[in-house]
């Protein structure tokens, strides 16, 4: 058996919603496993009120710490940061990995201060070196990367979504439950109501995002966008002018100052591709543009393009994709 330096294990917070893990939880565990291998140590996965924590052993979690506590049924950044700190202390973890979900980005800085740890968010790769400890992160609206050295003993890594990927690596995990100490002081911010659309793929979770812009000419023409999204199991999104005009809800606005997109496939229909739009979506792996104007800047950013009228191309695409899905299901 190889010696493992358990004094500096890697602690991954694998977030769950309503008890279920999302892909990002498997991605951060995969990443934590990689970092632990680089350092010759163990990875410990922390779950809070997850239904089936054992799923995480498929991605390399050798130790799974489960926290079950009714006070933590709704995400609370300060209370969750306190849990991470307690578990890090108990497990001797010096490196903490969190995801880049809305909640992960809320949590990261609080964990960083609690552990007096250097924090790097939007990290896109495993450390290029562990001594010095160097992380590559996004910079300048995704137009560049910065290699950042973390010089503190404790470190917090915020992993960018869909950057490292999910890597299966089955191990047999030991699971232990952990009793946390929660105090009223952790709940200075109290959740009073949650509103969520049900049954819709969210932009954050979607592998495919279908997005449309002013080229659609009016809100009454979104039926085909929604149908295309349905065929692809995709989330719908829109450009900023479209949400500013009130054609689509603000929650669909993607791009700078709107939601970021890091999907596997991003289909832009009738969107010219302003820099502010591209800044928010260019972390997507594959980009497709459909636009009547061959000079639209989006063609420079896209992998695949069709110069054509959305009103002709999209209905064809829906029909052909339905055939494709029928053959490949």
């Amino acid at each position: 058996m190889t010696f493992k330096n358990i004094d500096m294990s890697v602690l991954v917070y694998a977030s769950s919603t309503d008890g279920k893990f999302k892909k990002s939880a498997f991605e951060v565990v995969s990443y934590g496993k990689k970092v632990a291998e680089q350092l010759g140590t163990n990875v410990v996965a922390l779950t809070i009120n997850a239904n089936d924590a054992s799923e995480l052993q498929n991605y390399g979690a050798e130790t799974i710490v489960t926290v079950s506590n009714d006070q933590l049924s709704v995400f609370n950044a300060k209370a969750y940061a306190s849990v991470v700190k307690q578990v890090a202390g108990a497990k001797g973890a010096s490196i903490i990995v969190v995801d880049s979900s809305i909640d992960g980005l809320y949590l990261g800085p609080l964990v960083s201060v609690a552990l007096n740890a250097g924090y790097v968010s939007n990290v896109v790769a495993a450390p290029s070196s562990t001594s010095p400890f160097i992380l590559k992160r996004k910079a300048f609206s995704n137009k560049g990367f910065n290699n950042t050295e973390v010089s503190t003993e404790n470190k917090v890594i915020g992993l960018a979504k869909n950057s490292y990927g999910v890597h299966e690596n089955a191990v047999s995990a030991s699971t232990e439950s952990f009793d946390v100490a929660i105090s009223d002081a952790d709940f200075g911010v109290k959740s009073t109501a949650i509103e969520k659309a049900t049954g819709k793929v969210t932009i954050a979770d979607a592998d495919v995002v279908v997005s449309a812009g002013r080229g659609l000419k009016g809100p009454e023409n979104w039926g085909m966008i929604e149908e295309l999204a349905e065929v692809l199991g995709a989330a719908t999104a829109c450009s900023k002018p479209v949400s500013d005009l009130g054609w689509r809800p603000h929650a669909e606005h993607v791009g700078q100052t709107g939601k970021p997109v890091a999907s596997n496939l991003y289909i832009a229909i009738g969107i010219s591709g302003a820099i502010q739009h591209l800044a928010g979506i260019n972390a997507s792996k594959v980009k497709v543009v459909i636009n009547t104007d061959p000079e639209a800047p989006f063609f420079k950013a896209a992998d695949y393009g069709i110069v054509g009228d959305a009103f002709e191309v999209v209905p064809q695409l829906i029909s052909k994709l339905k055939d494709f899905k029928a053959q490949n299901s």
Partner: protein, 248 residues
Amino acid sequence: MKILVCISHVPDTTSKINFTDNDTKFDTSGVQFVINPYDEFVLTRSMWFKERQGASVTVVNVGNAVTEPTLRKALAIGADDAIRVNTEPVDGMSVAKELAEIVKNGGYDLVLAGKESSDYNGQMVPGMLAALTDFNFVNGCVGMEVDGTNVTATREIDGGSETVATSLPLVVGGQKGIVEESHLRIPNMRGIMMARKKPLNVVESVSSENATSSQSFEKPAPKGAVKLVDADNVDELISLLHNEAKVI
């Protein structure tokens, strides 16, 4: 109510990005700097607190003298006074520590900041500042009201929104929704004239060791040219997405 609005001085998103000194420094030549777009939303919200609830509004930036035009712009939009912490910002933690000093010494009740800056999108400073000052903290805030010391705020969550109850003192990381795009203010001539006479106080930094430091920059690998597919041949697009890109 004393409000502090944190202002980041960032390259305009349309700027060309280049690096110098063997890719260790960001080349600022020819780059236009602006108020961080996320900060514009909270700055406008602070103006509503000023006009409707009699709040005072101080804007603050951690940066060297080149950031002063950005602070003057915030004054022209209506802030009462400005503070510049005279140091080159190194990382999120060092900026948060500088701001924590300002917050402790200034007796602020409410600190508003954009949830992230448009250059690194790191979402670090507001949370770190809240933790360092032990203020309450709401991130991704898309709406808020203050009544005495009680605060009701709405934050964006995945697939919806959450309403929270909290109290001052409070740090808010805000975004579009805390005011709408159409509410954003731009300086008018009278504001610009008045801004020249408003106090802009320069304070020295509290030195601290940096937890992280920039080693080098990289640009993404050059992207290949777009593959164009004929508009009446969507089968080819489906085939490319399935067989080549492997995304459907």
